[in-house]
Point group: none
Chain length 243, copies 2
């Protein structure tokens, strides 16, 4: 099950301690160990940790202040959504299709799976760190699932039918690795700076920044390409500053 | 979804009202309507029914005194188990295999899916009403799932692979056409010009140009993204020329 060690379950702004506990339990059931918690309601996190029967997994959960830091080491970042909002800016895959891609990626590199808050799901800013979004095929009339149940269903889909998984590894290993989120974010920031300097966007235009972040994620850059592009942008920025 | 109307989710001796509520919510998410409750802790059932946000599905739940009565009209009766007990007298199938049989049966006749109490699961007597047992592929070391999560995972397996019109159209709506080669080439040229101006590459360095062209192709840009990126580069080039 080495590949499951590449999966990070990231709970963002979770409100209810029972849901953090339920997510941890499902993770333990399915052999997923890395829990990351972003900006939870303080009380919720403390209560979940101290709950009777809380797993070692919960004790080892890592706490982050924002999504960018929580996914820094991941090469694929997926957001989950009930998919009811009509203004989604991302590609939206059904769990079944999405899981296929995630499983392939998990063979070689860290993957983050994000779950938003119980009430609002993931915000646009939080989603902007994702490569694409995934949705459990619930009814349109009642799409929104309980958080703990959503985590359980996603992890189930990732482990179901596991025996076939090993065969694919060899081919994938030869492909070049996708860029880490940290690299992608650095590239985004450099590009944003250039766009500010050149007057393409106004400084601190939040919507523009999110739009740019999504655009850069859609490129699904390989690590080496991200590096090369960053070098290019730096040189251009340098020239612009020293002309 | 007529066949899902043939499915009865039967909760046996459930103790925690939150779990009854969670099971009902998962049923609503996946379009399963018939909830049967056998001998629940009285208080649990009443609390679940009167909980804020309890679904109509919960209000219509049928109450039975024993399993025999609860499954009377069903042609196939399946028990769920964590599969940790060594004395099982039944055939035990993995959820994936079991769901295939259930789906076939649901086309023509009522099927009952039983979930035992949180602490003890189904008793031998309760299991004796089942044709066979089914188990979610959890880890041996921690097999027992939270009740609401187990219901969600089982129902998901029963509906997965169905054509949920909503999800797919949304996915398609978000897919955009790949950029035309003409657009990609224009972008490449603009980037090359910038790299020349800024001194990143020497003018007429053929190898560098080819490398850049390959890099830009690897991005597999969508048409709209290529357009946006070209606009950005043009603005930066303008600034560089007019500083």
């Amino acid at each position: 099950m080495a590949d499951l060690d590449h999966l990070r379950v990231v709970l963002v702004a979770t409100r209810n301690p029972l849901n953090i506990g339920a997510a941890a339990r499902a993770m333990s059931n399915f052999g997923v160990r890395r829990l990351r918690v972003v900006n939870p309601y303080d009380k919720a996190f403390r209560e979940a940790r101290s709950a009777v029967g809380a797993s070692g997994l919960l004790a080892k959960a890592e706490l982050f202040e924002n999504v960018a830091e929580a996914v820094e080491d991941c090469r694929l970042v997926i957001g989950t959504t009930a998919g009811t909002r009509r203004d989604l800016q991302h590609r939206l895959l059904r769990l079944q299709e999405g899981a296929r891609i995630i499983k392939r990626q998990m063979n070689t590199a860290p993957v983050a799976l994000l779950f938003g808050s119980e009430r609002y799901g993931l915000s646009n800013e939080e989603m902007s760190h994702c490569h694409w979004l995934m949705r459990i095929p619930t009814r349109d009339e009642h799409g929104s699932m309980n958080l703990g149940q959503a985590v359980a269903v996603c992890l189930y889909e990732l482990v179901r039918g596991r025996k076939a998984a090993g065969a694919q590894t060899a081919g994938v290993r030869n492909q070049r690795k996708p860029a880490k989120s940290r690299e992608v974010e650095r590239l985004t920031e450099q590009l944003l700076e250039l766009l500010n300097t050149s007057g393409y966007v106004k400084p601190r235009a939040v919507a523009a920044e999110e739009k740019l972040r999504r655009l850069v994620r859609r490129l699904e850059l390989k690590g080496t390409d991200a590096e090369v592009l960053l070098g290019m942008l730096r040189q251009i920025a340098w020239k612009l500053a020293n002309k």
